[in-house]
């Protein structure tokens, strides 16, 4: 394995291949930073270009773009609350408040460092454990996915703010997730006969609307609500912060890899679950959402680790772990390669070159992100009266390009207005996104589990992994409900004692 990696490294270090990697990272940076342009779209656009290249260079290019877009979504998420990619939504929750406090450089630095570490952990896991992890991923079937989604949803109880708002928000997300053709029976739900709704509400129009558009509206109506940002000094290595986020980083990276390897669940879900767990394990969960370093470190380490993890089943089994990897799988076939259980053995040279390329890409992210961000933040000198419309334009073009659908653009603008109103009510947008992303997994996997067991509910308890996950979810839910109750009880007793 080490031999393979070293020979892969020697392939990557050829000047031509290094140049390819560098341009891939740059393309990924630009694409990832633009709201709506996700890794999937970039890979699709560049796919025809790679047909003329040899397979090794082609896949180094595609996977490097894939890796760097997952990273660069955080730039606009932190600076303008306009997540460049769906993976970066969670990053805006704590990143943007820091920008508003004038700490954009600090927030970006944390993001870059967490991404690179998450990416490295993911790549190392990919190189060392691919065959092993792939067999673990196969143990996950519908009951386990259901249990995982439930575990993620229970965090609503631990989120700060009013519990009732959290529940309503999650319910709203769950409801929106049911719109469209039922994946199991093919029945139309809440589509009102419209073909545009048949596929359901897309994640991109919803995220771009709720976050980016609503923020532009807020700033347009509220005047200059925060200090103007003229200078952003990105500081990647800050020892006090590094010590503060070390625990979050290691937990989130491992969690990211673990979720990333599961087929069908991508980096966005990983970022979400990781953020939820960071809230749950934090000593001060109420500070999340107000701009704390852990709130950036958790999703960024996890999404980059998960992006690499999603390549595990692709290389080991020919099963894509996410949307972008599904397209990379198609590209393998177009290049005449045969991904599948024999892929590692039959194309080991290519695979190790790709692994080595990804390894280098994570260092390139560390190295090049600072100049890129500096370039990008020059935009901050543009007055917001010009920048706001530019952001809206990018959002429209990006949203349209996902499905070539004007309907999605209107939907996105509608969600912009909704997000604007909900924020006025201090409604937790996290809960809505949580419901939207985890809802479809929970619903359809519950029904698939029951179809597997012919309606027998004990399937969730008879399978060890799902039983453990559901057990943890129940325990955590009980704790998060009982602890505040106990605290209130103690406070009341104290109060009545002091009164008497």
């Amino acid at each position: 394995m080490l031999d393979g990696f070293l020979s892969g490294l020697s392939v990557v270090l050829q000047p031509m291949n290094l140049l390819i990697l560098m341009s891939a990272v740059f393309i990924g940076f630009v694409g990832g930073a633009l709201p709506g342009i996700s890794g999937v779209i970039l890979v699709v656009i560049l796919l025809p270009v790679t047909y003329g290249m040899d397979a090794t260079s082609a896949f180094m290019l595609l996977t490097a773009i894939y890796g760097s877009t997952v990273f660069s979504g955080l730039i606009t998420a932190i600076l303008y609350r306009a997540p460049g990619t769906p993976e970066a939504v969670m990053t805006s929750f704590d990143g943007y408040p820091m920008t508003q406090r004038g700490e954009a450089g600090k927030a970006l630095g944390i993001g870059v460092l967490s991404s690179a570490i998450g990416g490295l952990v993911g790549t190392i896991a990919l190189i060392v454990f691919t065959p092993l992890l792939a067999s673990v991923a196969l143990k996950f079937s519908s009951p386990e996915y259901f249990a995982l989604a439930i575990l993620g949803l229970t965090v609503v109880a631990s989120l700060g703010g009013k519990l009732m708002y959290g529940l309503i928000g999650a319910g709203m997300g769950l409801f929106i997730a049911t719109i469209g053709i039922d994946p199991l029976t093919g029945t139309s739900r809440y589509t009102f006969g419209s073909l545009n709704l048949a596929e359901g509400i897309g994640l991109i129009p919803m995220i771009v609307g709720l976050f980016a558009i609503s923020e532009v509206m807020k700033r347009a109506t509220g005047g200059h609500v925060h200090q103007p940002l003229t200078k952003v000094n990105v500081k990647i290595f800050d020892s006090t912060i590094m010590r503060k986020i070390a625990a979050t980083l290691s937990r989130s990276s491992i969690l990211g890899v673990a979720i990333g390897i599961l087929p069908g669940i991508g980096a966005s879900t990983a970022a979400m679950v990781s953020y939820s767990e960071a809230v749950r394990w934090s000593k001060h969960p109420e500070d999340f959402g107000k701009g704390i370093p852990e709130g950036i470190a958790a999703p960024e380490a996890a999404n980059n680790a998960a992006a690499m993890g999603a390549l595990v089943p692709l290389f080991a089994l020919g099963i894509p772990g996410s949307g972008t990897t599904a397209i990379i799988l198609g590209a393998f076939i177009m290049h005449g390669l045969q991904p599948g259980p024999m892929f590692m053995a039959s194309s080991s040279e290519l695979i190790y070159a790709v692994f080595a390329g990804l390894f280098i890409v994570n260092f390139m992210i560390l190295l090049f992100s600072k100049p890129f961000i500096t370039l990008f933040t020059k935009l901050l000198n543009i007055p917001y009266s010009a920048l706001g419309p530019i952001i809206i334009m990018c959002c429209i073009v990006g949203t349209y390009s996902v499905r070539n659908s004007m309907f999605d653009v209107w939907l996105m603008l509608g969600f912009g207005v909704l997000g604007f109103l909900l924020e006025k009510l201090r409604f937790p947008l996290v809960a809505i996104i949580l419901g939207l992303v985890l809802g479809p997994i929970a619903e359809s996997e519950l029904r698939r589990s029951l179809a597997m067991s012919q309606g027998d509910m004990t399937i969730f308890m008879s399978r060890p992994i799902s039983a453990t996950l559901i057990g943890i979810a129940c325990a955590l839910l009980t704790v998060s409900i009982l602890v505040p109750l106990y605290k209130r009880y103690k406070k009341r007793r104290l109060y009545s004692e002091s009164a008497s």
């Binding site: 699709v44 519908s142 087929p263 020919g318 599904a326 076939i333 499905r403």
Partner: protein, 322 residues
């Protein structure tokens, strides 16, 4: 005088030419075809089998028709938007819909409002082979599978993609023909189906041979029944549906459609151009690369139309029964 005469003669000649031009405009249109750029609508997302098919055909057809082509992916609603837009386009053969069998399966399931009367199939170019694939740890061969299913009614679970897909239709028609009491779980992605079969969580799946070839070669999956008239040259050991006495031969097919009002001359012109593409070495080597060469893919406009109508009738009946 002579100049005056000339003017009269020229004018009348001009008028006559204009009149003539109006009269023969229909066939002229066909002669001029294509009069501008073409648009290919892909009834699927970017990167999948139908998208690859479209993008492979694009440069080959551009060369043959001497025009340029724009490709637009319309994946929403299983491609129903692409069919609708084609049916509403100018009937001049400049908007082509590249679709898979999902067109007819979603029509049968009531998820696609554009009927076969609104679209004319120009040609079928790919015909993938549907197979019943199992985890060899669970079932050794078709006889063992069948015996197990007969002895354990309701317990055998088969996977596939989506609720109104060619996989689902294969399942319904197989269950209908064999009389076995088995059930189907639709998954969102093909990868999820494969991983559930590999992990032994379900008994097997309906799927195309092209996409599972690597698992078959590694021995992690085993095709036990092919939907075909005759045994496949490359897989002579797998029994066929027809030899078991079931007339089931449909797999996932991919073809090209235009607005139903397109003049017949233009349809046949596109058909000829596509046939030339199909017969080219370049296209055939692509088919081989993506494992679609196991059986003849080509089917002309009329024959394909008839086949689609038969399929629709069968699928509608099968869905009604459930």
């Amino acid at each position: 005088m002579s100049s005056k005469n000339n003017i009269v003669v020229l004018t009348s000649l001009g008028v006559a030419m204009m009149m003539g031009a109006f009269q023969v405009s229909a066939s002229d249109e066909a002669e001029d075809y294509p009069s501008g750029d073409l648009e290919f609508l892909v009834a699927a997302g970017a990167g999948g089998g139908t998208d690859n098919f479209t993008r492979t055909v694009k440069p080959m057809l551009e060369e043959r028709l001497d025009t340029s082509i724009k490709v637009v992916n319309l994946p929403s609603a299983s491609g129903a938007l692409a069919h609708q837009r084609t049916a509403n386009s100018e009937p001049d053969g400049h908007t082509l819909d590249f679709a898979s069998s999902t067109l007819v399966t979603s029509l049968a399931a009531g998820q696609n409002p554009t009927g076969l009367d609104q679209l004319t199939p120009v040609a079928r170019m790919q015909s993938d082979v549907m197979t019943l694939i199992v985890n060899p740890d669970k079932h050794e061969d078709f006889e063992a599978f069948k015996t197990y299913a007969e002895n354990n009614p309701g317990e055998v679970v088969i996977g596939g993609t989506h609720a109104a897909s060619p996989d689902k239709m294969a399942f319904l028609s197989f269950r209908d023909a064999s009389g076995l009491d088995i059930s189907f779980i639709p998954y969102d992605e093909e990868g999820s189906v494969s991983s559930n079969v590999l992990g032994g969580n379900i008994d097997g799946m309906f799927g195309e041979i092209s996409s599972t070839l690597s698992y078959i070669e590694s021995g992690d999956m085993k095709p036990i029944l092919v939907f075909a008239e005759e045994r496949l040259e490359n897989f002579p050991e797998i029994p066929t549906t027809v030899e078991k006495g079931w007339d089931l031969t449909d797999g996932n097919e991919r073809g090209v459609f235009v607005n139903a009002e397109t003049p017949a001359e233009i349809v046949s012109q596109i058909e000829q151009a596509l046939k030339a593409v199909y017969d080219s070495d370049e296209y055939q080597s692509y088919e081989e690369k993506v494992n679609l060469h196991y059986r003849e893919g080509w089917m002309g406009s009329e024959e394909y139309q008839q086949k689609l109508e038969e399929n629709l009738e069968l699928y509608s009946r099968l869905i009604e029964q459930t």
